[in-house]
């Protein structure tokens, strides 16, 4: 028996700090290194002191794996590698490697430059950290070292998101990161081989949720935009350049075409170039639809959507504007918001999560009066809508993934274990496997049982076949031999051969015990009694009664001695180390069945 240990340092939830430590086959791996965006203090980052109280992490970790570019999965990476100290390899997919530093830099700017926080990682640290990253391709098997192997699978969720299959020797596990089991306009659904890992570590953000379909969310988005422009209002959609902006643009463009709407739609300059660049670069990571569209035409050459000019802000009449940044903390989106907020006909649609302290976060929490710079107060009268397009697996998706990869056990990374008893039992009932839900800092040990392949020498097999006949494949049979390790291989050979190879002499170990029994008559009569007794009790053992009065049962020897007229006879039982079980049995038999005398 060997084990896999898993300790979440922080995980789950939409905005949690995913970071899971795993020990498998003597290797230590960190899955994700996220930040908690709801905190400004030390709770923001995972507690790395759990790994080591002092010194660098390099010697304690064999590798770090990042599943996707969301900050709750990679936000603590520069802190971990540059401020705590880690020089080992960091694995992530190509799109994640490209987008991750942009997001980290954006977040650093908000934190340090806008909120004025100290003790945070610098731009330089992000660069140094990214130099340690090794980019990986889907389905490519990467040999981290001689024993540790990793293989990424498509996870959907966001551009470049991956699940990772880890193998060390015969032990294996799958870490899902965030994944999505239903395809959308923009990305495909997660996919994995029937890899039968010992453990599946799955996200469970939406484990107790039955999610509204993606198309209904899109429908709602279109309805809201349409209702607003029909009333003559202006719609502001703050977006992150590399998030779902492109998807929403395609959606609006299609709808405008269908409904024959003339209201102008704008997007901020630069958005299209950046997006085009990344989507072209990573086209294989998107859905079939986008790939097809790309062949026919450039999908960002829109009929209805035009570049935005700051002068348009004050234009009369309805319009729809996509503007960066997504959290309304700076730039064009904030500028437009300030202008449009006082008019109740207008609307702002927040298509994602906002960091605490940003305007986006405040208005999503219902703030209707905002204090801006210079103590000015901004009255928020426009309608605020939230539309999450995030793609996560819900309970059905988790069950589907389990049935695909058929793990031996499942571990759900999440906080609310008490409210997930039903899901746990459901997994146990449906798949007959154990389900774990550790809290942060709690370690789970998963016992793994593995068959160790052993080469058996032909000589040994031949001898066995000649002694006991050919084996029946349905019944197990004991085979004696010496287990030796040669190089990386285990071999079962004849004990004599092993001794010879090692230049050792053979030693025989025998155990002998003498009992005294109260039996009258000659010893041969007593021996005869014992012989009959043994024969009746050990029918399947070769039993012999030799002329010198001794009984041999397999390799166990029993002999009786004493004078004919003596009331007490001594019975000697002797067996070799190999016959321990039979020897003890016979000794016990004589002891209980015959009247033993005290000396």
């Amino acid at each position: 028996m060997s084990e896999i240990t898993v300790t979440p340092l922080g995980a789950g939830q939409d905005v949690g700090r995913s970071c899971i430590l795993v020990s498998i086959g003597g290797k230590n791996i960190m899955f994700d290194c996220g930040m908690h965006m709801g905190f400004n203090d030390e709770r923001r980052f995972p507690d790395f002191s759990y790994i080591t109280k002092e010194g660098r992490l390099t010697e304690h970790l064999d590798c770090v794996i990042i599943s996707h570019f969301h900050l709750d999965h990679c936000g603590a990476l520069p802190y971990m590698s540059e401020m705590v100290g880690y020089d080992g390899p960091i694995y992530m997919t190509h799109p994640t490697k490209a987008i991750c530093p942009i997001l980290l830099e954006d977040y650093r700017k908000i934190t340090v430059e806008r909120k004025g926080e100290q003790n945070f990682f610098t731009s330089e640290m992000i660069k140094t950290c990214m130099k340690k990253v090794k980019a990986v391709n889907l389905h490519e098997v990467i040999q981290v070292d001689d024993e540790l192997e990793i293989k990424p699978y498509y996870a959907g969720h966001v551009l470049g998101a991956a699940m990772f299959h880890i193998q060390v020797g015969r032990q294996s596990l799958v870490y899902t990161g965030d994944y999505n089991m239903t395809p959308d306009r923009h990305l495909g659904s997660a996919w994995i081989d029937k890899c039968r890992p010992d453990l599946l570590i799955s996200e469970s953000t939406y484990a107790t949720t039955i999610r509204d379909s993606k198309r209904c969310r899109e429908r709602d988005f279109l309805k809201k935009v349409h209702d607003c422009v029909e009333r003559g209002g202006k719609v502001l959609i703050p977006v992150f350049a590399l998030g779902r902006a492109q998807e929403l643009c395609i959606l609006l463009e299609t709808y405008w075409d269908r409904m024959n709407l003339k209201v102008p739609i704008y997007f901020s300059l630069g958005l299209t170039e950046k997006a085009n660049h990344y989507y072209k670069l990573f086209i294989t990571w998107t859905s079939q639809k986008i790939k097809n569209t790309f062949v026919q035409r450039n999908m960002f050459e829109f009929k209805h959507i035009k570049p935005f000019d700051r002068a348009f802000i004050d234009n009369p009449g309805p319009m729809v504007v996509f503007a960066t940044p997504g959290m309304l903390h700076a730039g064009l989106s904030l500028q437009i918001f300030k202008k449009w907020a006082p008019n109740e006909n207008n609307m702002v649609i927040m298509p994602g999560y906002c960091v605490a302290g940003t305007i986006g976060h405040k208005i999503l929490n219902g703030a209707r009066r905002l204090e801006m710079e210079n103590k000015q107060v901004l009255e928020v009268k426009l309608k605020v809508e939230y539309m999450s397009f995030s793609a996560h697996a819900d309970a059905k998706g988790i069950m589907q993934l389990i049935s695909w990869c058929e793990p031996r056990s499942v571990l759900l990374v999440h906080g609310e274990a008490a409210k997930m008893e039903f899901l746990k039992r459901k997994i146990q009932q449906e798949f007959g496997i154990e389900c774990y839900m550790p809290a942060n800092g709690e370690t789970v040990c998963i016992q793994t049982q593995h068959n160790i392949p052993v080469d058996v020498s032909l000589k040994l097999l031949k001898r066995e076949a000649s002694a006991a006949g050919l084996p029946d494949p349905k019944t197990p049979r004991m085979l004696h031999g010496a287990l030796v390790m040669r190089g990386n291989k285990l071999q079962l050979i004849e004990p004599r051969q092993a001794l010879m190879d090692l230049g050792l002499a053979e030693h025989h170990l025998r155990f002998t015990s003498t009992l005294y029994v109260e039996e009258e008559g000659p010893p041969s009569k007593v021996a005869e009694n014992i012989y009959q007794l043994v024969k009746s009790k050990c029918k399947d053992q070769p039993t012999q009664y030799s002329s010198d009065g001794s009984i041999s049962v397999s390799d166990v020897l029993i002999s009786v001695s004493g004078e004919d007229d003596d009331k007490t006879k001594s019975v000697l039982v002797s067996w070799s180390h190999q016959d321990e079980v039979l020897g003890s049995f016979l000794l016990n038999l004589v002891n209980t069945e015959l009247t033993t005398a005290t000396e």
Binding site: L138, S213, N292, K426
Partner: protein
């Protein structure tokens, strides 16, 4: 590479078209995909959550789902509403497929009937400590085998009794506090299979006979059950079900009516005070079902509309005003929800049907509907 869906197929275009059209047809539309199909459901907690029975054919579950905030909050309040998903609050495992669930108002208990079972079971939904739904009591029916048990709970705010049975002469009334049988209808000589039971006040139970459509009234005031048998003229030979116009409605504004629906699509409206007289009726384009296993009839909380499902893949809404006292009154639905079949992503099975639907007790146009492919839709229709 991972398998990716080609979204350009005809099915997808049809889906897309329907979804785009839905923008003007529905005030709200949410579509969910359950792991297994929903076989029965009932409101819990005044419509804040719903208790559903699901079945994959081999495994069966009972779940309590909380309704998304977005469906319950009124838009005028101005707060930002984020929740649009159902949440599995509690869950449990059953032996058989659930054919009927009735939540007991004011409690955390549900009465459940499983397929081909002669017992009614009471299940307790989880609380703050656990999210398991556990079986609490098992009440054995009067017959050891019966085609299908029907259950009804007395219509008070804190109900005291419930009744169950499969035919007119095996109905038992059970005290909810002790789960002991108070009275039963075994003395009745009339034996007809029932498809619907309903309390009319505290002492009267009204039964709709499955094969004749006859209404039988059991008077519980005397220990001995009395019966009023009402053969009503003009009923088609078909399978019948019924609903009481105040069933499930939070407010009883209008007068109580009995609405009957046949598997041939015929409506008959009765006054419970004069059950052998048909007030009005209508025939619809629906029908030709060989059974009424899934046929479901619900009345909107405003008591202006009646919704039907179980004939095919649609949920139809009919207006009360269109029912008339004439033999030749053919009516069509004022609204039809076609979403289940339009959005079905798998090849459509020949027995594809809407398995159950519910009208919200307060929100007049809010409906939950479920189909045999595991889809669960929550929608608010607009009647122009």
């Amino acid at each position: 590479m991972p398998p990716l869906v080609n979204m350009d197929s005809n099915v997808d275009i049809q889906y897309e078209n329907w979804l785009m059209d839905s923008i003007s047809k529905y005030k709200n539309l949410h579509m969910y995909s359950m792991q297994d199909k929903v076989t029965a459901m009932d409101w819990v907690d005044s419509g804040k959550s719903v208790c559903v029975g699901t079945s994959s054919g081999s495994k069966h579950e009972i779940l309590e789902l909380s309704l998304p905030d977005k469906l319950l909050a009124s838009e005028e309040e101005g707060a930002v509403i984020k929740g649009r998903d159902f949440n599995v609050k509690n869950g449990g495992f059953c032996r058989g497929e659930i054919t009927s669930i009735k939540h007991i108002p004011g409690t955390r208990l549900c009465l459940v009937v499983e397929k081909n079972s002669s017992t009614v079971t009471a299940w307790k939904m989880g609380n703050n400590e656990s999210d398991m739904i556990q079986k609490q009591k098992e009440i054995q029916g009067l017959k050891s085998s019966c085609p299908r048990l029907e259950v009804c709970i007395d219509g008070q705010d804190t109900p005291q009794n419930f009744a169950y049975g499969s035919s007119t002469n095996d109905i038992s009334v059970v005290d909810l506090a002790t789960f002991q049988t108070v009275t039963d209808s075994t003395d009745l000589s009339l034996s007809q299979e029932v498809s619907y039971l309903s309390y009319q006040g505290h002492n009267t139970i009204l039964c709709c006979c499955r094969k004749s459509g006859d209404i039988v009234v059991l008077d519980l005031r005397d220990k001995k059950v009395k019966v009023t048998h009402s053969p009503c003229l003009g009923r088609q030979a078909a399978f019948w079900t019924a609903v009481n116009s105040v069933d499930g409605c939070a407010t009883n504004q209008g007068k109580t009516l009995i609405i009957q629906l046949s598997s041939e699509g015929q409506f008959i409206i009765l006054d419970p005070r004069k059950i052998n007289e048909c007030i009005s009726g209508a025939t619809t384009h629906k029908g030709a079902k060989t059974d009424n296993e899934h046929i479901n009839l619900e009345v909107s909380s405003c008591q202006k509309f009646v919704s039907t499902s179980g004939f095919d893949s649609e949920v139809d809404i009919f207006c009360f005003d269109s029912f008339k006292n004439s033999d030749e009154n053919k009516i069509g639905p004022v609204f039809t929800h076609e979403g289940h079949v339009t959005t079905c992503e798998e090849p459509i099975a020949s027995d594809f049907t809407v398995t159950s639907h519910l009208q919200h007790p307060f929100q007049a146009s809010l409906i939950l509907s479920a189909a045999s492919d595991g889809s669960l839709h929550a929608w608010e229709y607009i009647i122009k």
